[in-house]
């Protein structure tokens, strides 16, 4: 039984079929990307996994149980960050921590919040409002919020799409660091357990997908989009960006993905 199981999922909006017969098995602890042209329904699929919308047909199972609406075991980092603009960076994370870790003491909640703000490097900026910080910092806040709620699956919707190349690279590294459970802190380890987080991210950046992921699910073009080939990324971890970019394996995977996206699942002439 797969950890996250998407079986024969359809999504229709009125007479328009956005997704048709989507099947995917996600393993516990892997990083997997959904890649495809914009408008192919990647985000629609992600929002169904998040439980924010329901499949018209088919089923999504997490650890064998069908999903019922959204829940904190599936942490979401939204495409536009979705921070509450009237709360500070600290409060944005804290309110989620307090809601999800209800049974913990106030001290523990504060400690969890602090820890994750430090991991994403925002502790110094914790009193600022979202309107006062850069896009990268907003994204870090959203990431800290999602991570601090200790999800089983982290769902990222084009998480670094709106950022400049440098910030993007830094945040990708930070994400991997957290995922790799390189957490020294015993308290956090106790909360998190020693299992790696499962990460599912939506992207249209091929390099990002290869650098971050174990597998890449390529989506065909809509309407009636579906998951075509799932490409394995057999690059060893930890990965070094420069080494990776020069490696043969990287070039081959990139060629294959490009071929899939531009030839096999090419955008139909409009």
């Amino acid at each position: 039984m797969a950890f996250l199981n998407i079986s024969s999922v359809y999504k229709r909006f009125g007479g328009y079929t956005a997704l048709e017969n989507v099947n995917l098995n996600v393993r516990q602890g892997e990083v997997i990307a959904l890649i495809g042209h914009s408008g192919c329904g990647k985000s629609t699929l992600l929002s169904m996994i998040a439980g924010l919308s329901q499949p018209t047909q088919g089923e999504i199972l997490l650890e064998g149980r069908p999903l019922k609406g959204p829940g904190p075991e599936r942490g979401v980092v939204f495409q536009n960050y979705s921070l509450l603009p009237w709360l500070s960076v600290y409060q944005n994370v804290k309110v989620a921590v307090a809601s999800v870790h209800r049974e913990r003491t106030d001290g523990e909640k504060a400690r969890i919040t602090e820890k994750f703000l430090q991991i994403v490097g925002l502790w110094e900026h914790r009193h600022k409002k979202p309107g006062e910080i850069s896009g990268g910092m907003k994204q870090r806040t959203a990431l800290a919020r999602a991570l601090a709620t200790n999800p089983k699956v982290l769902l990222l919707d084009e998480p670094f799409g709106a950022l400049d190349a440098l910030t993007r690279a830094t945040l990708q590294d930070e994400l991997l660091k957290v995922w790799d459970s390189t957490l020294e802190d015993g308290f956090l380890r106790a909360i998190w357990g020693s299992e790696r987080k499962t990460i599912l991210l939506v992207t249209h950046d091929i390099e990002e997908a290869i650098y971050l992921c174990d597998r890449i699910a390529v989506m065909s073009n809509g309407p009636a989009a579906t998951i075509g080939k799932v490409v394995e990324v057999p690059l060893p971890r930890p990965r070094d960006r420069r080494e990776m970019l020069e490696s043969r394996a990287y070039v081959e995977i990139k060629e294959e993905l490009l071929h899939l996206l531009t030839v096999v699942y090419a955008r139909k002439a409009a």
């Binding site: 998040a50 439980g51 924010l52 609406g69 959204p70 829940g71 904190p72 599936r74 942490g75 979401v76 939204f78 536009n80 979705s82 509450l84 009237w86 709360l87 309110v95 989620a96 307090a98 809601s99 999800v100 919020r145 709620t149």
Partner: protein
């Protein structure tokens, strides 16, 4: 850049902005007085002219809080009594309007159900509500407050519902994903998002309340600026009526400016 931009245009005399605004306002008032003067000396000779009115205005202004029994109180005292009623009536209205607005804003079904009712009751005149209040409470004081409450709550109700109904899907998704409790959702999402709308509603509602108070007190009698206006008219002292209008206008302006400040404060934060 700055030096090139602004200052080069006004090379000579630089007039400070507030001074200019004050000067413009003076011109506006001067035009008002002129029109008033002309009208009161042509087509409406019974209406006191600005000179007479301002004389009384000044007389009322320098001794605002005297109290010589029920039929002879200073204008300040009357205005204060009116303001008290407005605050109580408006406050009661808000206590109903804000929670109800939140509930209506949160539920599309309820909105569809209650919107026609609101649209029907909203334009009803305070004069029509007054007998209803009298019948319900058997007392003119309570009836006046009832009229203020029921006439001033609509903008608050409608704006609150509008604010709550316009919470972006993104924020609602955050609340759903991170399992916010209803209380957290209310205090961390609904209220902060809607506050600006609520205060805009307050501002409009307060304007209505202040308009309604004069009518309500004319009917209720006894005290307040509305009673003062009516009493002055009945005793043939039209200069007092005209002077009262100036006072009513100025207090209404001040109330609006005060709430406007509040709205501005929340729109920045």
């Amino acid at each position: 850049m700055e030096r090139l931009g602004r200052k080069s245009f006004s090379r000579g005399l630089v007039v400070p902005k507030p001074l200019l605004a004050g000067f413009n306002a003076l011109i506006g008032f001067f035009i008002l007085l002129l029109v008033w003067y002309v009208l009161s000396h042509t087509i409406a000779p019974k209406v006191p002219d600005p000179a007479k009115t301002l004389g009384i205005f000044w007389q009322l202004l320098i001794d605002p809080f005297y109290d010589n029994g029920p039929n002879d109180k200073g204008i300040g005292l009357q205005l204060w009594l009116s303001l008290e009623r407005v605050f109580v009536g408006f406050g009661l209205g808000a206590l109903i309007a804000v929670p109800l607005g939140i509930v209506i804003g949160a539920s599309e079904g309820l909105r569809a159900m209650l919107n026609p009712v609101i649209q029907m009751l909203r334009p009803v005149s305070p004069l029509a509500w007054f007998p209803v209040g009298l019948a319900a409470f058997q007392a003119s004081e309570q009836a006046a407050i009832f009229v203020i409450a029921i006439c001033s709550l609509w903008p608050t109700l409608i704006n609150t519902a509008l604010g709550v109904g316009s919470i972006p899907q993104d924020y609602r998704n955050v609340a759903r994903v991170y399992a916010f409790s209803p209380w957290t959702y209310l205090t961390r999402v609904v209220l902060p998002h809607s506050l600006l709308y609520v205060f805009t509603g307050f501002r409009l509602g307060m304007g209505i309340a202040w308009m309604v108070i004069v009518a309500a007190e004319m009917l209720a009698g006894g005290t307040g600026v509305g009673f003062f206006v009516w009493d002055s008219y009945n005793s043939g002292q039209l200069e007092y009526v005209m002077a009262s209008i100036l006072f009513i206008g100025l207090v209404g302006w001040a109330l609006d400016a005060l709430l406007g400040q509040l709205v501005r404060r929340f729109s920045h934060g």
